[in-house]
Symmetry: C2
Subunit: 82 residues, 2 copies
């Protein structure tokens, strides 16, 4: 079966987010007031696996070993069959 | 009211995605086979507005004027009240 994993990698609470701060300031210059702007990365991975549980386990391993940095990032995985 | 907008900015279909390609290759080196890896950016914007419709309109304007590049990007906005 083919599965599609949507991984969102976000900075942990309390980490500085210079990209978000810069965008917030730039939006302000354009006249848009915001309370907060946070930036994150998203990865959409398509992979084959025998079950959705195994696919999720594999993607979780990928995140821990390479995609996210556990010191500074939190990540969420959303899986669906395609 | 305060609203939270989740904006996902992705490369249009057919655009080269070197980040996705690099991650796919790196995952392969670690022994993970994938069919496709796509990268995207996500922005979480909190803002005040009198209605969810107006909040969405404002965020859509932000995307068109600054956050996304309409030549190469597609974007989706998901709004919720907080």
């Amino acid at each position: 079966m083919e599965y599609c994993a949507e991984i969102t990698v976000q900075l942990k609470k309390g980490m500085l987010d210079p990209e978000g701060t810069t965008i917030r300031r730039a939006l302000e210059h354009l006249g848009y007031q915001t309370s907060e702007v946070k930036s994150a990365k998203k990865y959409i991975i398509t992979l084959s696996s025998d079950s959705i549980e195994n696919a999720r386990k594999t993607v979780d391993e990928m995140c821990q070993r390479m995609i996210a940095n556990p010191v500074i990032h939190d990540y969420t995985i959303s899986m669906r069959e395609i």
